[in-house]
Amino acid sequence: MIELKGKERIWEKYQKEIPLDRYYYARSCIRQNFWPGSETTFIKILEEELGKTILDEEHHTTCSGIAYHCDVIPQETTMTIVARQFSLMCESGYEHFVPSCITSFGIYTEILETWNEHPEVEEKIKRMLMEATGREFRKPKFLVHPSDVIYALRFDILKKAKYRLVNAKTGEPLKCVEHVGCHYAKMFPDKGVGGAEFPRVLMGMIEAWGGEVVDYPERRTCCGFGFRQYMVQANRGYSIACTKRKFDSMEPYKPDLIVTNCPGCPFFLDRWQYVIAEMEGKVYTEDGYGIPVLTYEELAGIVLGYNPWELGLQMHQVSVEPLLKKIGFEYDPLDKFKVGNQTILTLPEAPGVLKV
């Protein structure tokens, strides 16, 4: 039996102040390729649905997090790059830094904490940024992740929601697996909503929008990306083994969907389902389609009734149609492979095991 009171006691400890307007948005390197609809949807929801101000900055670069976590560049370099992003933010007149990527969020958090503990490092980086670019910077007043923002605005979204995370036929809440990216709060538990052990950020959205969270044993386990584990082909067996452990653990709960807040996690949780199916013939749902994996922006978009194909859901390996059907979402299946109204994309090759 899980005592909710116990979790609430922990959550009280990890309350995070989240600004409700004027966001400086730094896009992710890889999300734009993996899930091109997600970041757009985030901006769309904030600007169009909720009337917030958000700057979609185009001059920022990578935070170099992937290189940092693959041990190929020194920390000072990463810090200087991050300092430049802050300087861009200051120049635009913003104070609330919102990086789309979880790893970036982790990097920024880590660097800000380092500077807090070691002001001499911050001074050094200021010098280096000045020498390299002639720029100056101030630290952001708030550093929040877009999932924090959506979490904070979840009830505002609910007010405009067209669909709930509820099985339209039975009226039962959907069983949702929340997977929070490792770099969100595992390094600095007090920087995440709800801490590291029982994070609240995605759970809050799911519960607000009608779903039920599944607490399965390997909830804390990494999606399997692990940077070096995937980047080096010889190590990919470890990467997928980790993912498989997660799926084996969540399978008995029969989840309807997985929600994530990290660029890599939805990718690996989605694509590895295909690879596991191809290698072992194993599919984790009874219907043979696999468990749909969504970003929180996509989930918000669905709740708000956005066109799934404009959300980019056709980019998912595991079909989302069963999920859409479950919540009674009205959509045109023929639109799936259309761009705009005209061109029909080449139909992708069907996988060997997974149903589509």
Partner: protein
């Protein structure tokens, strides 16, 4: 004659305070104890049996309270203020009871580490994650209804001890022996159960502790795994799943358990910091009272006339606490009869 008796005020009526009071009273002093709880006896009153001989805690309490009627005990009273005057100390409490004391003995004891702090262990979240203190209550008051068959217990050593993440670098000393004792008791209470102890080191330092450990292995079939728990999760069937590294085979390992018992360590008492401030007794980095001189003069403090004893100066077993209390009584006696043991501080 009564008025001429010198007065010793003891703060805390656990076994240390009671034992010191007994001896001070016999030495001819007037003794008063203030205790913040409703009853005397401290933590030991909540325990069931003691290690390594499995004597009932009642026996310890009965012993410690053998002279209870001979001195004044003020329950549910907390010390709020004290000042030094020509006759010793003037002390006030939250109930406005005032004392004039010639010497003060601080025996506030310890606080059981709050296992909630180890979030990943799920105390307060998973129903069957309990602490050693809870387990003692179960033994005393009976188990909550439970299917008694084939239960699997896991004892997690060093919860809140030897753990930088909990802020406590010290060893709480008694938990290893307590875990072995409780594991044996569990096996006796649930003969079909399976019991695992997950330890960092097994510190069986006292007489007959190692023998108790060996009996736990051989007679009671308790499994000892050298491992430190990383996290607790719940399975689909509501059983608990733990993940550890089996350090001796160098493999990650998982195991399903029905009960997890966290061996919460000792921390300084809640009012230790306040007492430290009131009486000018410094504490060490862990928050325990610092004696005047380590190793050789652990009952005296740098604050003249203020003495310390029991677990307030660091984790101790029952035996050590009782001996420490007697030692403190003697130190106070020397002080009050002006034949203080010459110490560096005391040379006048």
């Amino acid at each position: 004659m009564e008025e001429t008796k010198k007065h010793v005020l003891i703060v805390g009526a656990g076994i240390a305070g009671l034992e010191a009071a007994t001896h001070l009273e016999e030495l001819g002093y007037k003794v008063s104890i203030i205790e913040k709880q409703q009853v005397t006896g401290g933590h030991v009153k909540n325990w069931f049996k003691t290690f390594p001989y499995f004597d009932a805690s009642e026996a310890i309490i009965n012993f410690a309270e053998r002279s209870l009627s001979k001195f004044d005990v003020y329950n549910e009273t907390q010390l709020t203020y004290a000042e030094r005057n020509d006759n010793g100390f003037k002390v006030n409490t939250d109930k406005n009871k005032q004392f004039q004391a010639d010497a003060i003995l601080l025996t506030p004891g310890f606080k059981v580490f709050d296992a909630h702090k180890k979030e990943e262990y799920g105390y307060g979240i998973f129903q069957h994650v309990i602490t050693n203190a809870d387990l003692e209550k179960y033994f005393r008051n009976g188990w909550p209804e439970r299917d008694n068959k084939n239960l699997r217990f896991g004892f997690i050593h060093c919860v809140g001890s030897r753990d930088a993440k909990s802020g406590n670098l010290y060893c709480s000393k008694v938990c290893c022996a307590t875990a072995v004792k409780q594991a044996i008791e569990v096996r006796q209470h649930f003969p079909d159960s399976e019991v695992y102890c997950f330890y960092m080191d097994l510190r069986m330092f006292g007489k007959n502790y190692e023998e108790m450990f060996q009996a736990a292995q051989e007679k009671h079939g308790i499994n000892f795994v050298r491992a430190r728990l990383s996290e607790v999760n719940q399975n689909f069937d509501n059983t608990l799943l733990i993940k550890v590294e089996d350090t001796l085979t160098s493999r990650p390992m998982k195991l399903t358990l029905d009960y997890i018992v966290l061996m919460s360590g000792m921390e300084p008492a809640e009012n230790a910091a306040q007492l430290s401030q009131i009486f000018g007794v410094p504490t060490d980095e862990s928050g325990f009272f610092a004696p005047e001189k380590y190793l050789v003069s652990e009952n005296n403090t740098v604050s003249e006339g203020v003495f310390v004893a029991g677990t307030a100066t660091g984790p101790k077993t029952i035996t050590e606490t009782i001996n420490d209390a007697r030692s403190a009584a003697l130190a106070i006696h020397h002080y009050l009869s002006h034949s203080r043991i010459p110490t560096e501080h005391g040379k006048e």
